[in-house]
């Protein structure tokens, strides 16, 4: 399930769309919010590490 809208605590989420969003979802990071095509992923250590690995600075 995905909640339509944006999280109120945006700083705790990583926003992605398009291929990156699909890539993160494939890697097991399930989006919690969806707004206008952008997916918001709960920013935890696992996600941070993965993002770092693929060269995305959070």
């Amino acid at each position: 399930m995905v909640i339509i809208g944006t999280p109120h605590d945006l700083e705790n989420y990583f926003m992605a769309d398009g291929d990156l969003a699909f890539q993160l979802h494939q890697k097991g990071f399930i989006p919690k919010y969806e707004d206008d095509g952008c997916l918001y992923f709960k920013l935890n250590n696992k996600l941070k590490k993965y993002l770092e690995k693929i060269g995305i600075e959070v």
Partner: protein, 577 residues
């Protein structure tokens, strides 16, 4: 977390789903039906707590909404803005709640999916009839606990790809009604391409079924001019008919093997034409065929046609006369001079004054002249030549290009007096002839009038003229000689200049003996050969330079070890000490 591979299903009897009755309003040939578990009370990855009560209360919000997906590379992906609607959750149904052995309550709804417009979506289930799903919804939570959902409103259900999992572990989709064969049958029947193919097949069949009658009676015999009968169209019509074998035998007097593959080559001597849907004998077709058969000495054809004559009770004498009169005189039998003359006369008779004949041709037994007017524009004028005479076509057609002889287009030779039939040439010739004649007459007259003394005077005058002319020539010869001498001197100077200049340049590379030999050679050359000599000198100089460089390199190789030793100098302080 479930793995997609674990969801592989086998179509065992127990998997057969009962389709709800309301689904009957969505015909099987148009719709597939998918059973979707869209939410459950099981713990989800977001940690949202959906109680049994909330689920039962709000699950029906999915009805009237859509089944969506973003399909890429043959599979669904995830929630993206470019998702497309593929299915719909009909309002007619009630949400099914199923409690499993763990006490988890699952909510199910059926979606109907168009077979025609959602082929892409249905296609992804062909390989594996199960996908995760994920609802898109708005939620309200408890004020003091955001993880406890108090209500939700579903906007749609997204079908996820095989490589992604939904938040709710139980949420999935599988097709429960999709009979491929039926759908294919339906689409085949209604597909535009199929319709066109069917149309083509039907037409082919209709064409193949087309039969023509043959009427061999004298009463039905056609008397329309044989030239007006389109022989190609006749052949095509016959070949398309279902009773073509019968038609061919009746229409063509000579039917060779392989006529079905190459009818134009193997069907000869047509004698019939179409009158509506009937194939009837043509009076002039018979005459023409007989005439040609006689020319070609085709006995079997002649006999056949004569038998037809007998059967139709056609007067043989009149036929013979007509045959003789009507038959087009063949190419080889035409008298060239006669042809040009007849054509020229016929053109004048029809007041075609403005045209001249450029050439006469024959194509497919049709003779025609290429004529031109004063503006040199070309025209084609058809005519026919029989024993009766030459008759011109009423029409003169302008043509853009001259005709070139081919296998089926022959050009008649031009007679010796061809200029007589060409307006301008004729006039020109006439003019020139008359001029010559006038001159001759005048001379004769003058000669007669001249006396002997006058003639002597004229001869002496002419002799003097000749002498003067010789003198002039002699004088010119002398002048020419002087000029040649002068030119030779200039050339020598020029040559010496070139030789000296070049020899100065190459002096340092060549030894004196070679220099002398080359200089002499250069001076003996003509001025026009100086370039070649110059190249030779330069080449020899280059050769001499190369040799000289080689010698230098030997010297350098001798000094090289000294420099190498320097390079190999050790960097070690101890070594240097």
């Amino acid at each position: 977390m479930k793995l997609p591979l674990q969801k592989n299903i086998s179509f065992a009897l127990e998997d057969v789903e009962e389709i709800p009755d309301w689904a009957d309003v969505y015909p099987e040939n148009k719709f597939t039906v998918a059973k979707c578990c869209f939410l459950s009370t099981r713990e989800n990855s977001h940690g949202l707590e959906i109680s049994e009560k909330v689920l039962r209360e709000c699950a029906s919000s999915i009805l009237g909404n859509f089944l969506v997906a973003k399909i890429s590379w043959g599979d669904a992906t995830t929630h993206v803005d470019s998702e497309s609607i593929y299915g719909y959750f009909p309002m007619e149904q009630d949400i099914q709640f199923v409690e499993d052995e763990d006490g988890i309550l699952k909510a199910y709804a059926y979606a109907v999916i168009s077979k025609r417009y959602s082929k892409e979506f249905n296609g992804i289930f062909e390989y594996q009839n199960l996908r995760d799903s994920s609802v898109e919804m708005t939620i309200t939570c408890e004020d003091d606990n955001e993880d406890v959902v108090t209500s939700f409103d579903i906007y749609g259900l997204t079908c996820l790809g095989k490589t992604v999992n939904g938040s709710c572990p139980d949420a999935d989709i599988k097709l429960v009604r999709f009979e491929e064969k039926m759908a294919e049958k339906y689409f085949k029947k209604h597909d535009i391409l199929s319709t066109l193919k069917e149309f083509v097949e039907e037409r082919k069949q209709q064409m193949a079924e087309k039969r023509y009658k043959i009427d061999k009676s004298k009463e039905s015999m056609s008397t329309k001019p044989w030239g007006d009968v389109d022989k190609t169209d006749l052949r095509n019509k016959i070949m398309e008919a279902s009773n073509k074998s019968e038609l061919v035998k009746a229409c063509y007097m000579l039917v060779e093997d392989g006529w079905e593959d190459a009818p134009s080559e193997h069907l000869k001597y047509p004698v019939m034409c179409f009158e509506g849907d009937k194939l009837v004998y043509n009076r002039y077709g018979l005459s023409s065929a007989l005439a040609y058969a006689k020319q070609e000495n085709e006995t079997s054809v002649i006999n056949k046609i004569k038998a037809i004559y007998k059967k139709l009770d056609i007067d043989d004498d009149s036929e013979r006369k007509e045959e003789k009169d009507m038959a087009e005189i063949e190419f080889s039998a035409v008298n060239i001079g006669d042809l040009w003359g007849k054509l020229y006369t016929a053109m004048r008779d029809l007041r075609h004054w403005e045209y001249s004949i450029k050439g006469i041709y024959e194509q497919d037994n049709q003779k025609f002249a290429v004529v031109y007017d004063d503006d040199m524009k070309l025209y084609r004028l058809n005519f026919s030549l029989t024993e009766e005479g030459l008759s011109l076509s009423d029409e003169i057609i302008e043509v853009k290009e001259e005709f070139i002889e081919t296998d089926n287009m022959k050009k008649f030779a031009e007679p010796e007096n061809v200029s007589d039939y060409r307006k301008e040439n004729k006039e020109d010739d006439e003019d020139s002839d008359s001029d010559d004649k006038d001159e001759d007459e005048e001379e004769d007259k003058q000669v007669e009038e001249m006396s002997i003394s006058e003639l002597q005077e004229k001869i002496s005058k002419l002799e003097k003229d000749v002498e003067d002319r010789d003198n002039i020539i002699m004088k010119n010869n002398e002048e020419l000689e002087t000029l040649r001498e002068f030119k030779k001197g200039i050339d020598e100077q020029e040559k010496a200049k070139v030789v000296n200049s070049l020899m100065e340049e190459v002096e340092k590379f060549l030894d004196p003996e070679m220099m002398k030999s080359l200089r002499d050679e250069g001076m003996k050359c003509e001025l026009c050969d100086m370039d070649a000599w110059s190249n030779k000198v330069k080449a020899m100089s280059f050769s001499a330079i190369s040799k000289s460089k080689k010698k230098n390199s030997d010297i350098w190789s001798f000094s090289a070890p000294i420099s190498n030793q320097k390079e190999k100098k050790s960097n070690s302080v101890w070594d240097r000490i």
